[in-house]
Symmetry: C2
Subunit: 341 residues, 2 copies
């Protein structure tokens, strides 16, 4: 069933039917009602390709996910982020298309997306420090919003991010207040901007108390469970082991915990662990009784906000860049305690 058939069936022109359906004022409410009725009765849906051709709009948003920065890893943040974004798209009648990109052809991917023209805007995932994609996309002239930020990018751009520096400064302060002096940082890959910022927050807090950071206590890798395990295991075996771990992901924190317990120590008593928690739907830290003390920042919410922001920019590309900084909450759990003396 297409427009022409529907129009014929109603004894109206295609123009009128189209206008009735799209809410134009040139059509009487009576006709509009009649048209609407017939449309749903016939199960009519306008063909989005034809509509897109005519309007120049695709009614779709593209998400480009680097298949992680180094390996074959699928970023676990991604699932919940798009779950949030998708609510927004659904309400606005937008579709969502996915492109996984294996790093190499990054810029090319975006160029192709633009040339094909089947998305109206792009969400950029996993920004790195000085991420070249951002000036590139600005030059491309396609609306985009970054989930996260990139440092040292000359141009202004739109982003939704959490306050990584602030959260990790506060988390480190919290551990320092508990008397910890040797605090390990198990960060994400530090080419990733969020990891870079977290490290900055951590270093700031140490410096403010005059504590020199120990390179042996700082790592930055992809935030898997095994990474947390191995790193913690190695650090606990040092001559001067840390008394606390600051971890960038709940997933890695689970590995840290495994290492701690395997060493015959008790988390929260012998060794403290404070982790960032992206609030994945399947990996709750416990609502009533959180296992880990954590900096909490729901990634799903970030997805919703980023999608809304992008849709605004698609509607009016001339809008000045918009930014949104989310503050993480510091949630008290059972994994932290005073430094043992």
């Amino acid at each position: 069933m297409n427009l022409r058939q529907l129009a014929a069936q109603l004894g109206l022109s295609q123009t009128t039917v189209s206008r009735a359906l799209n809410g134009y004022p040139e059509v009487s409410e009576a006709t509009r009602a009649r048209v609407r009725g017939a449309a749903i009765a016939a199960g009519y849906m306008p063909n989005p390709r034809a509509r897109g051709l005519a309007t120049g709009r695709a009614m779709a948003i593209g998400h480009v996910i680097p298949t992680s920065t180094s390996h074959e890893m699928m970023n676990p943040v991604f699932g919940d982020f798009i779950a949030g974004a998708s609510e927004t798209y659904l309400a606005a009648g937008y579709d969502m298309t996915l492109t996984l990109s294996g790093d190499a052809d990054e810029a090319d991917n975006y160029r192709r997306l633009k040339a094909k023209g089947n998305v109206d805007g792009i969400i950029v995932h996993g920004p790195r420090i000085e991420d070249g994609r951002i000036p590139f996309l600005t030059g491309l002239g396609m609306p985009f919003v970054v989930h996260g930020r990139a440092s040292n990018v000359g141009v202004p751009y739109s982003w939704v991010d959490m306050n990584n520096t602030g959260a990790f400064r506060r988390a480190t302060d919290f551990l320092l207040d508990l008397g910890h002096r040797r605090i390990a940082l198990l960060n994400g890959l530090e080419v990733m901007d969020f990891a870079h910022r977290r490290r900055t927050g951590y270093l700031d807090a140490l410096q403010a108390r005059g504590i020199a950071p120990d390179p042996a206590l700082m790592r930055g890798e992809e935030m898997t469970e095994p990474y947390g395990y191995r790193a913690a295991r190695a650090m606990l075996a040092l001559d001067a082991p840390p008394s606390a771990f600051l971890v960038s992901s709940l997933i890695s924190a689970i590995g840290v915990r495994r290492a701690i317990e395997q060493s015959g120590l008790t988390m929260g008593r012998d060794i403290s662990v404070l982790t960032h928690d992206d609030d994945f739907s399947y990996l709750s830290n416990g609502r009533d009784l959180p296992l880990f003390t954590a900096t909490l920042s729901p990634v799903r919410e970030a997805g919703r906000l980023a999608a809304e922001m992008l849709l605004r920019r698609v509607a009016d590309p001339a809008l000045p860049p918009e930014t949104r900084l989310l503050e993480a909450q510091l949630i008290l759990g059972a994994s932290t305690g005073p430094a043992p003396s």
Copy 2:
């Protein structure tokens, strides 16, 4: 840059340029080379909407993900599955679109997808027992492949699944061979077909040894970490606690482990744990030294296979349904041992 401009620039007709680019034999190889050269020089990409309008094909595959069967949970399997599928799509020039559906409007979602016509085929995620979507989609006449299966569906259909029944029968047998008699099953939601099959495998194995299943040792919920924790905790507090846990997901198994250790027991010695492992990229069970004994079935591989199968069906919708059953490997880890006497 569009076809017309490119044709004008080359002094050829649109027809010829189109045919040259699409590999039709009616054009000389010399012209074809010239056209190709000009196209890439100009950065020309055919507009997929226009092409879709003309051909009736969308060159896109739709993935419909029920936002879990009950809650707001995003299925963690999904990320790695599409990472696998996306390789296939990329190579074939297909795009991937995502629709998260909140259960309620399931059928409607598919109908809309069909009516809009911007996908050529659909991957169905998270099939439930007697899933109504399957006969519905068969009726719709849109190619689809199910990731998983649905029991008691009258019609034949295409699927890629792992042998859930076999894997859990074997896993249960393995635990029985170690002398365990009270084996708990922490399953996924049992309206989900995969969970139903796993339970069948578990019950089969028990029955074969004449052991009556104990309802107090069987649960089926969404496979989060807290679920594993709470369920294990409750069961360990029973008068007759289990000596082994059979768990449907590594994520929940992590929770089980937490409960075991919190009870002052040692996993692998006092209590055995055997889990299914979907081989998420961020949650490795350890390659060299697996923590958990597990039935392993890479979900990424399943994604690739399902996508390939779907693309075949899109190319030739008359193809008889195709199915692919993957066997899980049983990986020995440190989490299992003989039943304590």
